[in-house]
Amino acid sequence: MRAVHWWPTLWTGVWGGLMALERRAFLQAMVSRPLVAATVTGLINDDLRAGLYVGLVFELLHLGGASLGGAQADHETLPAVTGAALAAEMGETFGSDSTPAMWALAILLTAPTGWLGRLLEKRLDERARRYYGRALSEAQEGQLARASRENLRAMWPQFVFYGLLCAAAAAAGPLLARVEHELPLPVLRGLGWAYPAMAAVAAATAVHGSHAKGRYAMAAASATAVAGVAFAAWYGGHPP
């Protein structure tokens, strides 16, 4: 068992900060979507599977979310990166891969950071007013290049704050692993059961978030088909 794993913690912080920028400030090529950002976080923390499966749940949970007009959606990147870092570091603490119980615990603990991330984003947007004010006065003074560069200055606080939160999650992994290690076996079994339950909740939320007309009928048809095939295979001795 080991204490905080400093290099992965540092890189998780850098990655988390960059992802916060990619999510809105620069490019928006969806590298910051939960499935991608969490998988890379898993890679950084030496447990790809943890990143992939934590990211999958958050991807589905936030699938239909979008900031439209004045309404801001929950931050999907922050829970994905912090959740993947927490789960991967929990497994790493005891020198093994993480388990579905660890993924479930990490998801339960980091899901509210979506809301926290949205609040932080709102605060940083308020703070960005000062850059606009500065740009206006610089433009009045004829310093046009300086005025246009004010746009980039607003990125620093986002990188720093989100990066720190992500690094903190990676650093908390070993501590949480010790707590999880002390849990009674039935509770651990229950946490293992919680992962498929949460995945089902996330997928159902994704059906709703698809915004399609007739989405429930289409989803019911495809779910019935998959369940039918899976149970037929199970009956034939091949569990899903």
Binding site: M30, L68, S210
Partner: protein, 256 residues
Amino acid sequence: MTAAPARPIPRKVAWRVFWRSLFLQAGFSPEAMQTLGLLYALAPALKHLYPDEAAQQEATRRHLTPFNTHPYAAAAIVGGIIFHEAKVARGEEPPEAVTRFKATLMGPLAALGDGFFWLSLRPAVGVLSCALVPVVGVFAPVIFLVLYNAVHLSARAWLFKEALGYGEAVVVRLQTAKVPMWSNRLRLVSATLAGALGAWLALRFGALAGGALSVGVALASLGIGVATVLAVSRRWSPYWLLYGLAGAAVAGGAFL
């Protein structure tokens, strides 16, 4: 075939503007929204079009008013602004033509971009990639990025190039792409794949975690998915459902 239009700015300057337009929302604030980003993107073009400093300042001031649209569709507005600014610089148009172009297009392009990219393409590619996790594992995120960005980056580059060359004629060209039809199709793909994936996740991880009770846990997880669809459709919070049902699963695992 339409003849290639005269380029309003050199290729190198156009590339700089396009690159800078990728930072459109860096300085986003509630009042100015994307104004700082627009100013940052336009700066190299304005410098080129107005060698006279006073004229350059006047042009810059035209773009200090609040601006907001979809970040990808903004490529069309940035390109179109340069198309019109070049005409203003040549004395072929009054400066109001630029502000009118911007004000007319930012709303409709925002609605089009939100509807297609945020509410259709992203969910469809996201759920498709999640559905591919059982088949391709960690390559699913790579597939997500390749599929999404094949559309995203080509759309951004095309919109910029067309608007730079033809101004508001880009709207007519955009109509031929039948964006609303594709949006509806993509949304149906998302719903279908999400249903299938939900069933697979519930059965696969339910069977893995259930031990002697594997069939029961798998069926219960499937039932949770169905119940959640009903609850979410009645506007229940997904967070409450996540915690409530995870709590029930933990209790079930602990006491059964």
